[in-house]
């Protein structure tokens, strides 16, 4: 679960990391009122879950009230895509923040290093730009040091990293304290990524987090009530919200071939095989292990609520999941939802024969059976037609 910048800054603030004061606003009026309270110049920043907002025109500095109104109007409702093609994300909220007098821009982060099974702290004196590009150009510019995840990380331990990165001498103690607090935040809040770019030094020589990128482990939300609430309100796609409510693992994509498979790996593989057959998957939906008929009804109601879907592929390899249960679910859902779109069904594994018998007995005119995964993918692509 990713936090918006302002949510990340609130978390920083709770852990004693200095951030500029600001207010969140959902309308132009709110944004202007906030700007008036904060004073000018102030920054109007799009709150979306991707980097590269500045380049996309999502961050502006307003010198006065007229500019605040103009920029808030332009940014709210804007669609922003990420540098790697993420999104588009619509800007629903802006963060209005007091202007900072910047003397230096650094970079600091604490992330989960999956390969090394440790936390990794990274610091650079060259902040404010794409850190991957900085590191690619000069590998010495980004100092990396692993942190023992089993105990607290202190400012004294952070200090050598700050020294190696060559930050200004007079702010090194404070920067080391900030890095230790970032690690503390990660450990206390179950964050798998905390990135501050830029971490600035103000003209008053204070170290301040000017941005915040935070990812919280979704599996740990049960022990962070406040963050769990943010998660619940963060979904804006109607199908994803509906799936969440029904307890389904669903990801919306932009094609027209609805997909339902059991198991995350088989489901990803099904998307790939459909794409190889020339189709465009509309979604990822893992029906999960041991799916019962009711789960299939729920899954189909989510898939078919996406108006783009023109055909649906069921790719089931029953292990714990029983194919007869899946077949019952398909028959039940067809009746309950008056399904008209073509369904291509491939059932293999546990109780597949009984499942196929149930489907045959139901005599659904829109149902096509296939015996292999590849054959099923080709059939559903043919039936779905082009992704308009």
């Amino acid at each position: 679960m990713d936090l918006l910048e302002y949510q990340g800054k609130q978390l920083f603030s709770e852990h004693g990391i200095a951030v500029p004061s600001g207010e969140v606003a959902a309308t132009v009026e709110e944004a202007v009122a906030a700007a008036d309270r904060i004073g000018y110049p102030c920054a109007i920043k799009a709150q979306v879950l991707i980097g590269g907002r500045g380049k996309a025109g999502g961050i502006k500095i307003a010198a006065d009230r007229a500019e605040a109104e103009q920029y808030a109007g332009a940014i709210l409702g804007m669609d922003i895509r990420g540098p790697h093609g993420e999104g588009p994300f619509r800007v629903e909220r802006v963060w209005v923040e007091g202007g900072s007098a910047i003397a230096a821009e650094y970079y600091a982060s604490v992330i989960l290093d999956r390969g090394e099974k440790k936390l990794l702290a990274m610091v650079s004196a060259k902040g404010g730009m794409d850190i991957e590009a900085v590191a690619a150009e000069d590998s010495g510019a980004l100092v990396k040091e692993h942190i023992d995840p089993t105990r607290p990380f202190t400012a004294a331990e952070a200090r050598p990293i700050i020294d190696a990165a060559g930050l200004d001498e007079d702010v090194r103690d404070e920067a080391a304290a900030v890095l230790a607090k970032l690690a503390e935040t990660a450990q206390a809040e179950d964050a798998t990524l905390i990135e501050v770019n830029p971490l600035i030094v103000t003209e008053e020589r204070q170290v301040v987090a000017l941005d915040a990128k935070v990812t919280i482990d979704g599996n740990a939300l049960y022990r962070h009530e406040g963050l769990a609430e943010l998660d619940a309100e963060s979904i804006d796609d109607p199908q994803e919200a509906m799936a969440r409510e029904k307890g389904l693992t669903y990801v919306k994509l932009d094609g027209n071939v609805g997909i339902l498979a059991n198991g995350a790996g088989l489901c990803m593989s099904t998307l790939d095989v459909v794409a190889q057959a020339g189709g465009a998957p509309a979604n990822f939906l893992d029906a999960g292990g041991g799916s019962k008929a009711e789960a299939i009804v729920n899954a189909l109601s989510v898939i078919t609520s996406d108006a783009k879907v023109t055909a649906i592929l069921f790719n089931i390899f029953g292990g714990i999941t029983r194919c007869d249960e899946i077949a019952k679910g398909i028959v039940e859902a067809s009746a309950q939802l008056s399904l008209a779109v073509p369904l291509v069904v491939r059932l293999d594994g546990t109780n597949s024969e009984q499942g196929l018998e149930i489907l045959a007995a139901a005599g659904l005119s829109n149902l096509h059976q296939e015996t292999t995964m590849l054959g099923a993918a080709q059939k559903v692509v043919e039936l779905a037609g082009s992704n308009g």
């Binding site: 790697h84 993420e86 999956r114 099974k117 979704g218």
Partner: protein, 296 residues
């Protein structure tokens, strides 16, 4: 031989008195696995279908000689349960539970390392050595004994590939589900090492997916240390960046962890990568038979 579980396995199941634990534990026993004990705190002295239940894993080790622990405990209580297993004296801990917080797993990972205990999972289907033992939830009917070792991040995808191998007349030395979480006890490299040393394994099928760099690291390891042929499959070419695809670990972060990068890293080291599960099974059978070691 085969790896991790076999006829020497003496299994203790944490949560044997629960619904899932008893269903799968007894299913494993029906397959031929030696189910030595169950553990549920407060229920020591009871029995489940003739299997003694103890209050702690250590008691199961002391009293019933258990050497392998399976964890079926709900996610919130699973990390302490794995820690208990690590400290109990068993050699292998297989954690099936999905949804354990990743920072808890970081700590548990290092506990297992320091204790010298082999941890498989979490969020995995377990380990099956066909004809010998099954520990976990892998449906054994889709796998025959044979010469192909499988190591995979995904359960159902493994069943799919295993079944295609079976239909082609080939079987498996072992099938190891390492799990789909960001932090898992054993990575591809740990299992590749075991297959390399296993005289009953002639070829290895490795099933990866988007997220992290375990496949890239495995590619380096294969080039340097593995003499047996390896055939790979990677899922998630159509996954969009920044979206978690079912497994907690299956996420492309920025530009890293893509299926394309993993495929290229493996191919650069001479590993053949199938386009689909079906093609992967076909290549595996072809390579095995070309080496003169297939069944047909």
């Amino acid at each position: 031989m085969s790896i991790i579980v076999d006829k020497e396995t003496k299994l203790v199941v944490s949560g044997l008195t629960g619904r899932e634990g008893s269903f799968h534990g007894l299913r494993n026993r029906a397959y031929g696995t030696h189910l030595a004990a169950g553990v549920t705190p407060g229920k020591g002295g009871q029995e489940v279908e003739g299997v003694p239940v103890f209050d702690s894993i250590r008691e199961a080790v002391d009293e019933a000689d258990a050497n392998t622990s399976m964890i079926f405990v709900p996610a919130r209580f699973a990390a302490p349960a794995i820690d208990e297993a690590i400290e109990s004296g068993v050699e292998t801990v297989i954690a099936i539970t999905e949804g354990i917080p990743v920072l808890d797993m970081l700590k548990t990972y290092w506990k297992a390392k320091e204790a010298g205990v082999r941890l498989i999972g979490p969020n995995c289907p377990g380990v099956l050595s066909p004809g010998k033992a099954n520990v976990g939830i892998i449906p054994a009917q889709f796998f025959d004994p044979g010469r192909i070792g499988v190591v995979s991040k995904s359960g159902t995808l493994t069943y799919q590939i295993g079944n295609e191998l079976k239909q082609a007349g080939e079987g498996n030395s072992s099938i190891v589900g390492i799990g789909g979480d960001p932090i898992i006890g054993s990575d591809f490299i740990d299992i590749l090492k075991l297959y390399e040393a296993d005289p009953e394994t002639d070829l290895i099928v490795m099933v990866g997916e988007i997220g992290g760099d375990a496949e890239e690291r495995a590619a380096e390891f294969i080039a340097a240390e593995v003499s047996k042929p390896v055939v790979a499959y990677i899922a998630g070419f159509t996954a969009p960046p920044g979206k978690q695809m079912g497994h907690a670990g299956a996420i492309i972060s920025g530009s890293s962890g893509t299926a394309q990068a993993k495929k290229e890293a493996l191919e650069a080291k001479g590993v053949r990568v199938g386009e689909s599960p079906t093609e992967t099974a076909r290549i595996a059978v072809e390579v095995l038979r070309d080496s003169g070691r297939g069944s047909a």
